[in-house]
Symmetry: C2
Subunit: 226 residues, 2 copies
């Protein structure tokens, strides 16, 4: 690996692929981190691997982490239905996974400390998202404060910076930024409830936001919808 390293949380979705491209454009060697966390659909791990290869990351680690043992979300518990055609309904949706971004960033922090990276990137978005509490600026700031009292690296004078470059962007702005950086969105995957072959349902919150983003950006949507 050459140059300064950054750890990027890479889900295989549109947002995290764009974040990885932005980290690379900022001059970092990208250390990508994905989780095999018991998600109902495993296709996103295939997408994460494809995106990592496409972007030429320095390394890509996939960590097993059994969030099903905790449950509490439509994304990790088969007994819960993924809502369809309900975007913009009130409240935090059932696809919220308790403390997921806290858990993922904590793992990213450990990984960063191990590889000597001081920069963490993740694709939180406060605007064009489903209202998850752990996607807000106050969350990002609180995590950065925590990181800087939690680690040997920070104690030794190498503080961490948590980057959430998409946080105030619309989905259309994210797509335009990614296209400008050469991201191939055909490799990315957003659907909460895909077919086993990766075909997107077209009706969950994530598909609806993705479709609207491509339409607003004026970019052809390369996604395979059912």
């Amino acid at each position: 690996m050459e140059g300064k390293r950054a750890v990027v949380l890479l889900s295989g979705g549109l947002d995290s692929a764009t974040v990885a491209a932005l980290a690379r454009a900022a001059g970092f060697s990208v250390c990508a981190l994905s989780f095999d966390y018991g998600q109902r659909h495993r296709y996103e791990l295939t997408a994460a691997k494809d995106v990592a290869a496409h972007l030429g990351v320095a390394e890509h680690r996939v960590v097993r982490l059994d969030l099903r043992a905790i449950g509490g979300s439509a994304l990790t518990d088969d007994a819960w239905a993924v809502p369809k055609d309900s975007l913009g309904k009130e409240g935090i949706p059932v696809t919220y996974v308790p403390a997921r971004n806290t858990i993922f960033l904590a793992m990213a922090l450990g990984y960063a400390e191990t590889v000597g990276a001081s920069d963490l990137y993740f694709g939180a978005n406060a605007l064009d998202y489903s209202g998850y509490p752990d996607c807000r600026p106050a969350f990002v700031e609180a995590f950065e404060r925590l990181a800087n009292v939690a680690t040997k690296a920070a104690d030794e004078g190498r503080p961490f910076k948590v980057h959430a470059p998409l946080i105030r962007m619309t989905k259309a702005e994210i797509i335009r930024a990614g296209v400008a950086l050469g991201v191939d969105y055909a490799l990315t995957h957003s659907c909460y409830d895909p077919s086993p072959d990766g075909t997107s349902c077209g009706h969950c919150d994530s598909c609806l936001l993705r479709k609207r983003g491509f339409a607003e950006a004026g970019v052809p949507d390369p996604t395979r919808y059912a």
Copy 2:
């Protein structure tokens, strides 16, 4: 489960067993959380199960979490030696696991949100410990601040409280408190480098602190040392 629930991080060690007893004494139904995180010695999971049964916890979940994929510690990487007879040497020791308590508390937060608990307990200790950064009051406070901007529960008016009741206690004080609450320390396990049958080495930092604690408390040490 009856009454108010608290999630307690239970490693099977002396400190976390005492913390679980303190949470129970405070009137909580204890939801204990342990990790199968690729630790070099698995004996601590046996100890955690024994302690959970002994204390009569409401439930005990063991979550798989592959910290070996991150590495960076003598406790998760076989290539690193566990230091012996070196207590009090300068700096943060190699048994520090990058971001471990951040990761464990993040998982505890998700578990707490799922079971409707607002209280998290863990056995951080700033005095009679090995100088880990994620065992200090500033870390505990920063995690609590994070928890209260990270979750649906906090957004809905159920904020979290992070308890670290041992943080300013000496090991001897911890042992005396546990004995007063009926904790059977013969079930607990502290050694960083035990034999496969659970016999403690007697020379790692953790064994040295444990021995000294029992001696100072004037309590017979029930540990099997090699």
